[in-house]
């Protein structure tokens, strides 16, 4: 599984991640939460081999990620980035790209590739749109199509960067159920989530970040009870638990702690 050892990373001179050591729990859903700009997406990109580290090491299945060839790694882990150009392409065309890391030199899809694409479209229930333009679909439907592509990529690990952002409530839950399904199919899922209630409800493991460091990583309930979430976000929140869901009912801003930072 993927492991980060004393990792510093960032863009150019800027250091976004500072001395991160973290081991990804295998076969679980892990959510990364934290305030804006704390390095959640950077952590995801480093673990997904999309951003080289400044120092430290990233190990995937016992090997440094640098020793993988590009397509070899793409058969091990998939990343669904948040901001995307939506090209003019059919749903089936897009999902088929998930098979790119498996294609040989001739770049031809074999019957097994087509089977994987069909299966991915059926599991995410986008098959009925196979020949539709991705652009014609709504935001939530598009997200499902992209998830189908990730599924067609058939990897052990799946990274998702804010998969539910900008979606309406129904589509948020649809997508989270699909992510749950990925987990049931044995995949290790890591996602950046903004919605705390979703993160606590749908993940087995929550990573709380603050200013480029990991402050805590625990089971959702333990983390919530520790009060660390409140401290990082600078609020005093009230929450209730109902079944396995958490609701944040009220939050008071803590002004003292934040003012020192500004």
């Amino acid at each position: 599984m993927i492991e980060l050892i004393h990792v510093d990373a960032g863009y150019g001179e800027k250091k976004v991640l500072k001395d991160i050591t973290f081991r990804l729990p295998k076969g679980k859903i892990t959510s990364i939460i934290g305030p804006n700009g704390c390095g959640k997406t950077t952590l995801l990109r480093v673990a997904a081999r999309q951003l080289p580290v400044q120092s430290g090491a990233v190990i995937a299945a016992g090997r440094p990620v640098g020793s993988y060839r590009r397509k070899e790694f793409a058969r091990f882990a998939a990343l669904m980035p948040q901001v995307r150009d939506i090209p003019s392409i059919s749903v089936e065309g897009l999902v088929s790209h998930g098979r790119f890391p498996y294609l040989g030199f001739s770049r031809k899809m074999r019957p097994t590739d087509r089977e994987k694409v069909r299966e991915a479209m059926e599991l995410t229930e986008v098959f009925q749109w196979a020949q539709r333009e991705v652009r014609e679909l709504s935001g939530g439907e598009r997200q499902r199509v992209y998830l189908a592509m990730v599924l067609a990529q058939d990897t052990e690990v799946v990274f998702l960067d804010e998969p539910t952002t900008y979606l309406d409530l129904r589509h948020q839950f649809e997508l989270l159920e699909l992510i749950e399904m990925l987990h049931q199919r044995g995949k290790t899922v890591v996602m950046v989530l903004h919605d705390l209630a979703h993160a606590l409800r749908y993940s087995h493991h929550v990573v709380l970040m603050e200013q480029g460091r990991i402050l805590a990583e625990q089971k959702p309930k333990t983390l919530l009870q520790s009060g660390k979430i409140d401290r990082v976000f600078g609020v005093t929140s009230h929450w209730v638990q109902e079944g396995d869901s958490y609701y944040f009912t009220k939050a008071k801003l803590q002004t003292k702690e934040r003012s020192g930072e500004q």
Binding site: Q50, R70, E72, A74, A78, D85, I89, H97, F100, Q128
Partner: protein, 346 residues
């Protein structure tokens, strides 16, 4: 998922594939037709039959034979090669820069090629063989400069086009300076700026053919990679695509194509912008279809314009560049206006 639904989706996909095959078939027939027209039309009113029989009977000295072999064939080939090359170069550049406003002409690749070709022709007048090479180097340098600006400085699409137009006008000023200082360079200067095929010979094209062949092969090899790239650089990289290499090789192919075309046909302006757009309308954004469609359409468009340039005011020849703009301009405008607002920037 019901079986009937599955099969109807299959059928739809097959129908689309069939219509694309049909499109390519149609384009090939059109190309053949226009090639024959181009072989037939010109200031000497010989019929194809006359010329073919002169050829078949080996009347090497006859005027029919000479017109056919020294004028019509080179000219037809030049139109096909240059139209095909510039259209594919434009398609590649638009894909790599993810910018529908870009074309070899707009971002200065053509004028870079022209400037270097002109320089070579002036400095080494005894060595006409270096012209295609110089032209290619000029095209590559300009293309890489624009690409570096786009990637390293993260210029917006509009800024990039403005930068390209600026680079292009600097290089054009360079070309004008050379033609002013050395009016006797072997490249006919006035014809070179407008672009055209009136003085073209097989000798001039001989080396350029290799560059175009290489460029087309490289473009074909890049088609699937460019398809993945259109999902955005980050998604493409996470699918295991070597984004930088794909972009570099595509730019290299575009430079080979545009440079070679410019070396014998001058600064033809419109093909590289107009044809990729027209081709996208018919073939969509799948590069495996788009690239060949653009190649054929470019060849057909240039052949058609060149034939018109020869017959409109026969026996006088009208510059093909003017015809191209007069014909292509309104067509391109209508294409732009048919798009919904903003959609052209796809």
């Amino acid at each position: 998922m019901s079986i009937s639904q599955t099969s109807s989706i299959r059928k739809l996909a097959e129908r689309q594939k069939k219509s694309k095959t049909l499109l390519l078939g149609g384009l090939i027939s059109l190309l053949a037709l226009f090639s024959l027209l181009s072989l037939r039309c010109g200031s000497q009113n010989y019929t194809l039959g006359e010329m073919f029989s002169a050829l078949a009977n080996g009347e090497a000295g006859s005027p029919q034979w000479r017109v056919f072999v020294y004028v019509r064939v080179p000219r037809t080939l030049a139109c096909i090669l240059s139209g095909c090359a510039l259209a594919v170069a434009g398609t590649l550049i638009q894909a790599v820069l993810n910018n529908a406003m870009a074309s070899p002409n707009v971002i200065g690749v053509n004028s870079g090629a022209g400037f270097f070709a002109m320089l070579a022709a002036t400095l080494l007048p005894q060595m006409p063989k270096v012209i295609p090479a110089a032209s290619f180097i000029g095209a590559l340098c300009t293309a890489l400069l624009i690409y570096a600006l786009a990637v390293r400085r993260r210029l917006s699409r509009t800024t990039l086009v403005l930068a390209g137009v600026t680079v292009s006008s600097i290089l054009t000023a360079g070309i004008n300076t050379i033609t002013l200082l050395f009016p006797d360079t072997i490249i006919g200067a006035s014809g070179f700026m407008l672009g055209g095929f009136s003085g073209v010979t097989l000798e001039k094209m001989k080396d350029a053919v290799w560059y175009i062949g290489g460029g087309l092969l490289l473009a074909a090899a890049m088609a699937t990679n460019l398809n993945v790239l259109r999902l955005g650089e980050e998604t493409a990289a996470s699918l295991g695509l070597n984004v930088g290499l794909t972009q570099f090789l595509s730019i290299l192919a575009a430079a080979l194509l545009a440079g070679a075309a410019v070396s014998f046909s001058g600064l033809l302006s419109f093909v590289g912008l107009l044809v990729p757009h027209a081709a996208r309308r018919f073939a969509g954004t799948d590069q495996c279809w788009l690239l060949p469609t653009a190649a054929f359409m470019g060849a057909i468009f240039l052949l058609g314009c060149d034939v018109l340039s020869r017959v409109l005011f026969a026996p006088f020849e009208f510059p093909v560049g003017i015809i191209m703009s007069l014909l292509g301009g309104p067509f391109f405008l209508s294409l732009l206006l048919r798009h919904k607002r903003g959609k052209i920037y796809d």
